[in-house]
Symmetry: none
Subunit: 205 residues, 4 copies
Amino acid sequence: MAKRVKGVTERILECAKQEFLEKGFKDASLRDIAKKAGSSKGAIYVRFSDKENLFAALVNPSFEGIKNLLISARQEFLELPDNIKMEKMKSFSDDKVSLMIEYIYDNYDAFNLLTKCASGTEYENFIHELVEIDIEYNHKLFEDMYKDMPTSKRFTPELLHIVSSAFFSGVFEIVVHNMSKEDADHYIKMLRRFFEGGWNTMLKR
Amino acid sequence: MAKRVKGVTERILECAKQEFLEKGFKDASLRDIAKKAGSSKGAIYVRFSDKENLFAALVNPSFEGIKNLLISARQEFLELPDNIKMEKMKSFSDDKVSLMIEYIYDNYDAFNLLTKCASGTEYENFIHELVEIDIEYNHKLFEDMYKDMPTSKRFTPELLHIVSSAFFSGVFEIVVHNMSKEDADHYIKMLRRFFEGGWNTMLKR
Amino acid sequence: MAKRVKGVTERILECAKQEFLEKGFKDASLRDIAKKAGSSKGAIYVRFSDKENLFAALVNPSFEGIKNLLISARQEFLELPDNIKMEKMKSFSDDKVSLMIEYIYDNYDAFNLLTKCASGTEYENFIHELVEIDIEYNHKLFEDMYKDMPTSKRFTPELLHIVSSAFFSGVFEIVVHNMSKEDADHYIKMLRRFFEGGWNTMLKR
Amino acid sequence: MAKRVKGVTERILECAKQEFLEKGFKDASLRDIAKKAGSSKGAIYVRFSDKENLFAALVNPSFEGIKNLLISARQEFLELPDNIKMEKMKSFSDDKVSLMIEYIYDNYDAFNLLTKCASGTEYENFIHELVEIDIEYNHKLFEDMYKDMPTSKRFTPELLHIVSSAFFSGVFEIVVHNMSKEDADHYIKMLRRFFEGGWNTMLKR
DNA sequence: GATGAATGAGCCTTCATTCAT
DNA sequence: TATGAATGAAGGCTCATTCAT
């Protein structure tokens, strides 16, 4: 039985990554990827059934990874005893955000692809999915934490959406602008302080 | 004097708008636009010298418009007497942001195109240009207002960039999500309150 | 009654000349010619009914001119009394060739067009027409001069054609290679000496 | 291993040849060639990367062939002992020219393309390359043979160019005029005699 | 499994020419 | 007469995908 030549998949992925980074999804050419990889178009189709799928192979693990990171962070927080939620909030999310930044830098190429080269793919608006997760948990959180308060009109899902969206857009600026890890750490800290202030303002009223 | 047949330009623009909205810049077909417009490819080329130009015709006036709105708002504020800047800040920018939202809804299609369909054009990152204008003025503002304070490391251009970027991304979410004008007004108000809180937090420290 | 604006024809011709020289007939664009001339495509069509005709307008007078020069030179020689033909041959054709060279330099642009830019027009092989005139006269000449000799198989029209063709190709090398008039005079002299030698050789046998 | 369907290349080349012969390079249509060949545009691009290349495939071997024929003939002569050069000159080049004519007729289509249909390709002035080879060798030859004679001003590269050019133009007239091989043999003989006379004249002075 | 030839729709653009104004 | 808008055929070329070998 014919076996897949070892290393071909790796080479294809590597070259595809370069091609997508260079030209974006739409303008990338499978022909060129195969050529650069010293392989053939067929070899690509055997492994990844089409162009979109090839892109997904490069990007999806990291996408799932960051989603899971976000989910487990939020879930974990949700499951804290109510009485220590407030107290832990700051330090807790500091840690979690740091984990995410770490994760982004550990999978930098993938997030570069997601951020700059995904136009035309299902990942085009990948930030939205993070946002949706985020607001879902925010929703749960507020239900939990403030169930006694009069639900102010202000805490609609749409607001949560917008703020989350702004936050994650802010986060991924570190990729868009190719910041060094150190710069990123610094600015994310500031970004978080900024949003913290925002949240405090919102909550106080 | 050969005259352009009346209404053709309008029909081309209208159909181009639809096509671009539907398929995005890259996948839009001039053939199809001409066909839908009941006209010919040549008729497009007489008016707009190429595909990019046709897109620009749909989008550039609104892009310039919002830039000018931003510039004049920021400039006007900058020229207020220092002693009333703080006092007016809130109400002043409420008004100005309202104007921008108004403008966006008055040119909704254009901003839809800019926001969702511009990949592959020079407008791909149109938000960045707004951000750059914004941070330029923030810079001037801080120079003016806080020239006596020790320039904290926090107010680097990069921070300004990130926050501005988050803000404008937030603003254009109203387009990305096809919010009604009323919803938009409401949520922009909240977004602004949120960012206001953020700024206050940053400034206080 | 509407009159042709004065100078338009001249400007069109001048710009057409430049365009044809630059790009050759096929690649020349009437659009561009009209634009450069500050005029319109229609204005071209009124004066010259199509592209080919416009080219002809630039080229035909000189083409006719050189044909006539050739014809009258050959005719004149033919009409010399037989007994002085041989004697005058050399000096006579020296003069005539000089006239042709003169004419070429007086109409240099036209011959440049004919030589390098006429592919795709009826003038593509303009040298052939000169050759045909030439061999027609050679034929008459030989009939006259050598009617008593056994018509050697060698003096077929085809030979005359080939030699004439080689000669005129040689002549127009001065245009192909943008020789200065002085250089041209010198080398045409040599070319003629060369061909003279050739003819003598042929005639002697 | 994907294999090219047998005969497709041949059919494409054959149909391309016909199309180019009929319409010339510029006006030939790859679409039509593919259609006539019962194949697809893509099939052409797999084999020949573009239009120019397709033309070259038809023409280049013969072009290289005749250049090599010329080069080796001239080189061989150059390497003859000086004392028998003069003696052999006539018979020697008779043979070599015959070889070239033979070669031209063995590759008739290619030379037809080169002669009549190459406008717009790099072969447009293919005769010039032959001429350049020729004059290079003439130069060497004269340096060798006449190094004791006063270098007359007459033997400038430009003269050599003109005469060579005239000669080769003469030679390819057999293609331009679709002469039969027999006619060609006969007339080339005469052409050569003619040029021989020319050279003798030049050399004697 | 691997290859890459084959496909043919589709791309943007240019053009000479026609003709209503 | 002059204009230049309108036409629509045609151009070369690229592409993702299919499939015979």
